[in-house]
């Protein structure tokens, strides 16, 4: 569906995309993650033919993108980060306008507009102009304008920025429904937990480069992060910390209150070894959990940066 190959985009001396490549198949949600200024929006703009790039190729649906390739444009949708809606038009008029840029048949368009309104839950606000809507409802309208024509590829650029929890959940559920009806979604966000929950695969960007990509499982396997096991003991002391450090393949033990976080080297039956140690020493515990590295820690390891709002 999407194939970007070694794309380079320069703004004078600044390289926004540095031989950036990634591929996405049909019917999946791809999280495009990276800190501010890493080139996410530039990559999207290049895919949408809004920007000319200096090198490389971009293909959507197996066809090369260009500003005049309406065949491709007809099959894609965009929900920009900023609210791209007309202040003077009401909900129906806004959606109808954007849908009308793709669908000329009036009857078909009317049905699509109604479906989009229902999809984002704005049935009660059909005649409302944007200034009468809350921030979350405006975001929903912004999304409805991008999806009404039922695109096969949808670019969602930080759609949950500055929205309340209820609208955020509504939007995320909507994105999942989009996938269920066969849409490929390219999703950029700052919220890693949100991306972890929503996306099938990820592209981690930094300085215009594709630092890593794949499913969460693939990313977890690809990095050298240790296995982390946390145990909550009924009674513990500094001596216990020292004894835990004697376990095989232990790198570090961090005690926080009555919780002990033990960092092991990977792939050594660490959990089984730890349980055996507890039994051998007749220790009593209330919780034990082995944690895979989160997207956040993967991101930190790959880019050396934390992704913040």
């Amino acid at each position: 569906m999407i194939a970007m190959d070694k794309v380079v985009k320069r703004y004078k001396d600044v390289i926004a995309l540095d031989h950036f490549s990634f591929r996405a198949g049909r019917n999946e949600i791809i999280g495009l993650l990276g800190p501010n200024g890493c080139g996410k929006t530039t990559a999207i703009n290049c895919m949408l033919s809004l920007l000319k790039f200096d090198q490389g190729t971009i293909e959507l649906f197996g066809d090369t993108v260009s500003p005049n390739n309406n065949k491709i444009k007809r099959r894609i949708g965009i929900v920009p980060q900023e609210l791209a809606i007309f202040d003077k038009l009401n909900v129906v008029e806004n959606i109808d306008f954007y849908c009308g840029l793709y669908i000329t048949n009036k009857a078909e368009r009317k049905q699509l507009v109604d479906e989009a309104i229902e999809f984002v839950g704005l049935e009660k606000y059909r005649k409302f102009v944007p200034k009468q809507l809350s921030g979350g409802l405006k975001r929903r309208l912004n999304i409805a304008c991008g999806i009404a024509h039922k695109p096969e590829i949808l670019f969602l650029d930080e759609p949950t920025v500055a929205v309340d929890a209820q609208s955020r959940n509504f939007i995320l559920e909507g994105v999942k429904k989009m996938k269920d009806r066969g849409t490929t979604v390219v999703y950029t966000t700052h919220y890693l937990e949100e991306a972890e929950d929503l996306c099938d695969s990820f592209v981690i960007m930094d300085n215009g480069r594709n630092v890593a990509n794949g499913t969460l499982d693939e990313l977890q396997k690809s990095i050298s992060t240790t296995e982390s096991i946390t145990v909550k003991f009924i009674s513990g002391d500094d001596a216990l910390t020292e004894r835990l450090k004697q376990l095989p393949h232990v790198n570090q033990v961090v005690k926080t209150g009555d919780r002990y976080n033990i960092q092991f080297e990977k792939h050594h039956n660490n959990l089984a070894n730890l349980i055996r140690f507890i039994e051998d020493h007749s220790l009593t515990y209330t919780e034990i959990a082995s944690e895979q590295p989160s997207l956040s820690s993967i991101f930190l390891e790959l880019t050396g940066k934390e992704l913040r709002d």
Binding site: P67, K73, P80, G100
Partner: protein, 376 residues
Amino acid sequence: MTIFKIILLHFWKFKWMIIPLALVFFLIAAMFSLFGGTETFESETLGITVVDESGSESSEALIEYLSSSHEATVRDDVSRKVLEEQVFLMEIHGAVIIPDNFDTHVKNGEPAVEIITDERAAASFQLETEVSKFLMFANAQFNDAGALDKDTLQSALDNKVDVELNSDTVIASEENFENAAAYSNFAAYWLMLFIMLSVGNLMSEYNKPELQKRIIAAPVSSTSGAVQILSAQSLVGIFAVLVMFFGLIGLYYDRLEGIPLAHIFVAMVLIMAFTLALQYAINALTTNRFIVNGIANLVTLGLAFLSGIFIPIELFGDGAQRVAEFLPLYHYTQIYASSDITWSDSALSIGILVLYTIVFMIIGIIFSNQRKSTQL
């Protein structure tokens, strides 16, 4: 046609700005039509101070003539400065200073007296007219008889002619033309203001980068988009022109003689096209609604004043008149400059307005392309 429709829909959203604007215009035009055009002037008895430095027979004749219909006081103990002050303070309507070589000036047909009046008052015009009438007749007397015969001069000055005004003649046509020209002048200001405010506000929203991003990403070619925008704006512009034009016909339906209707219509269409081109250039420069509104008011008011829409251009100084000749609104008024104007007379002004429109279109296209290249 989606963009075409959305532009029209946006205009409709501005109806609560447009309708009052149109109503105010037609209210003013109707009042002007009902109460204007029949200016009357009645002569009145003036308080005049005369300083006679000549003491000649002819100066006495002038004093006698002025005294016959006004309260003329002859004084020799008053300075020019005091007279000016009295006129300024409206203690007297005017003063006439007759110099010692008055006879010679009258014989030679030269300016013979000094008149001090307040030029803002109608009395000024009355006094100057009466004095110049006396001097003309006195000059004729000198030339005819070699000397001044006071009695003959007096009877000549007292002669009256009965004039019968015929409203169906050229005078009525000229009055119709004057009224229609005043309407059309103000209509141009209204058209410019209407188009600049409505189109300016609409396009400043339409050209927002975030909206443009979505529109450009859609399968609509830039040419098709531009044609749809231009068509919608032109349609609204033509509608506004028709409202103004048929408004003129409606207000003066029984007094259309002498009004160059075809010229006025062409002028309105051209000023509408020019304003659209100008607004296109402004919108290519900025999408800030406050700047757009500010420029709209500044440009329309500035052009209207400088081009003689509000104040007759003849009242301007030479420099300002020369500047006005370079302005589009001046040429708009010149397309229907007289009741019997021909197309060849209007051709130059029509051509200049067309050129102005083309120039601003080109400027708009250049700025628009520049903005798109920096935006994307």
